[in-house]
Amino acid sequence: MPRTQELHLNMGPQHPSTHGVYRCVLTLDGETVTSAENHIGYLHRGIEKIAESKTYPQFLPYTDRMDYLCPMVYNQGYVETIEIMMGVEVPVRAEYIRVIMAELSRITSHLVMVATMAIDLSSSTGWMYCLREREKILDLIEMVCGSRLTVSYMRIGGVSEDLPDEFIPGLRKFIGELPAYLDEVHELLTGNEIFQARTKGIGILPPDMAIAYGVTGPNLRASGVAYDVRRAQPYSVYDHFNFEIPVRFNGDSLDRYLLRFDEIEQSLRIIEQALDGLPEGEIKGKVPKLIKVQPGEVYHQVESSKGAVGFFVVSDGSNKPYRLHIRGPSFVNIGVFPELARGWKIQDIISILASIDPVLGEIDR
């Protein structure tokens, strides 16, 4: 009696649309995926081990190389953890500047997600349009801290330099122009029937499965659970600002994609409020020259564009950490991918992977 045979296909570490060096072993029955396995570790650089031989200020440039698309939030998470351990007070102006930069980073990261989703579905024009917008933000960030991607902008106790004069008018101009460009992307992609057929109803993540797997960030909020670390455990000055937690209820790829646009809108709101209320003052708090942290351990979470980033620092009293562990949100998010991928076609799992938006830098560290 003729039987069909299942095919093992390797979406190898070198692949045009696996967001970095990620390997997925698929078992296919014709075109349908019957099982998927994650294989990670191709970008492991031993950052957590390196942390044990660097002093606290020296480790800061490493934090923006983990999630290289949203570096300011990682900087913020790390310096806040050390500040909690040392009991340092950060001036209010520095906190406001940190919030502005973190939200700008969040917008760039979401723009990259939309761009990669477009090109993974083979619309390279959408990719170009989103990256054109991202270039403007990167120019603004370069104006402040001299680098576009690996910023190393924040310091323990504040930020490294104050905002230059041309930054705030440039930022206000950009905030005014962005919604029109996003409408153009909506016209090109979101309303397109082919795009909707590729993403609507694909890869539905039920909310209880999301919570059981520990998924956080936009992937969780697209399934209907309104959990955001900025509201649940407020840090920095986020309680000064008026913003909503965007939620969508279908949990499919289209919702995860649309939620990023909602988040960009909310980030723009926060930036506007921060610019309006930016106080004068110092940008660095009182911090000793040689930073030594008393023995103890602290775990602190911040909200990045992928989910909740956690920093766990164990100190033994010296100027180097004894153990530093980072909870990368993409590492946890990608754990739910084999569940989501089962039963869909190969082209669908590309769309699901793009909508989860993993970044290999923070999965492998």
């Binding site: 660097k54 200020p57 020296q58 480790f59 800061l60 440039p61 490493y62 024009t125 054109r132 370069e142 104006m143 402040v144 801290c145 001299g146 680098s147 690996t150 190393s152 310091r155 490294s160 330099e161 230059p164 153009e184 016209e187 090109l188 992609l189 309303g191 397109n192 029937e193 082919i194 795009f195 909707q196």
Partner: protein
């Protein structure tokens, strides 16, 4: 109408087809870099007091400092050689922040490619032997 989204998309691309380019024509058009740009580092030897704070601030052990004892009382540290290995430099700026005398600055030079990796290891100052 079925197909309306498709037509809107075509309209967007057609509009951009006749629009301006956003490309910067690189070797002919130089980029406008902000003044805080993290380019190649430059060293001002007259300001340096050979304290070694930059060397201990660097995460990657990029800076090599050679000093000798000299001066009027024979106890002051005098700088003889200052080298930076740009193969490992992250251009993070921690050394510049650590320097108490502002002897290190960022320039705007970014075209740093060399044919041999050893050429990236630069000696920024060597004391002339009289």
């Amino acid at each position: 109408m079925y197909g309306e989204g498709l037509l809107k998309g075509l309209r967007v691309t057609l509009k951009h087809f006749f629009g301006k380019h956003v490309t910067q024509y690189y070797p002919e058009e130089r980029p406008q870099l902000p003044e805080r740009f993290h380019g190649l580092l430059d060293f001002i030897p007259e300001k340096c007091i050979a304290c070694g704070l930059c060397q201990s601030a660097c995460p990657n052990r990029v800076i090599t400092l050679k000093t000798e004892k000299g001066g009027e009382d024979g106890k002051k540290k005098i700088l003889t050689e200052y080298g930076m290995d740009f193969r490992y430099c992250m251009f993070c700026g921690l050394c510049i922040e650590a320097c108490p005398k502002d002897a290190l600055i960022f320039t705007q030079e970014f075209e740093l490619a060399t044919y041999h990796p050893e050429d990236a290891c630069r000696v920024l100052y060597r004391k002339q032997v009289e």
